[in-house]
Symmetry: C2
Subunit: 131 residues, 2 copies
């Protein structure tokens, strides 16, 4: 598919897509169309790749990190051990984030409960939920 269709499929602005291509995050191939500026052709997998990028972004990764992760992933694509290693690493990092998130949620819930029960003693302290 061409870039405008790809934009519709991913929900990303065309400019952002081109920006990702320039960064090396997406690698469409060139079509025969376009003469001297050959048009870029996207495959359905590219849509998944774009979705993955956005997901990783919401998880706090920078585009540079995402690029590195994806390249490392691609590099070990033919070694199951290496792939698992890379995935496991990502899992660990996400679990750390999840830890911080859970701590924050516990803290907030604790605060709500504390208020609901008439604020007995001292307020829940952020420090008590190591994050």
């Amino acid at each position: 598919m061409l870039i405008s269709e790809f934009a519709k499929a991913t929900g990303l602005p065309v400019d952002t897509i081109r920006f990702y291509i320039a960064k090396g995050l997406l690698k469409p191939n060139r079509s025969l169309k376009g003469g001297s500026n050959p048009y870029q052709l996207f495959k359905p997998e590219d849509v998944t790749a774009a979705r993955m990028i956005r997901l990783q972004q919401t998880l706090g990764y920078t585009l540079g990190e995402i690029l590195a992760l994806n390249e490392e992933y691609r590099a070990g694509e033919h070694s199951s051990e290496r792939t698992i290693e890379v995935l496991q690493l990502q899992i660990e990092r996400l679990q750390q984030r999840k830890g911080a998130l859970d701590a924050a949620l516990t803290f907030l819930h604790g605060k709500v409960d504390w208020i609901k029960s008439g604020k007995p003693g001292s307020a829940p302290r952020l420090e008590d939920y190591q994050c």
Copy 2:
């Protein structure tokens, strides 16, 4: 405490602290020291506030959003109902983030399992874990 001590206590660079003050995220009071440019005095609560800011940042909030949240929180400080409302709203937003995180983790775990079991059938699809 003065700014350098506050910097040590929070682990933040002095410049960043001043930046947060300029944004209105921290509001130290002025001391008698410093003559014509009175020095800024930080309270222990300010350390907690700084920790809260960093936490909220890791959870994906911008400084603008953090400021708004904290001001709204302060605004309703004397109404338990309003405070609970604000906290509940934060909890909801965090739970949404947690959902995305869990989806990503499930996806990654699924992929690891799929590889470990010799890649039967087709690879786990990101699309199947709505995020």
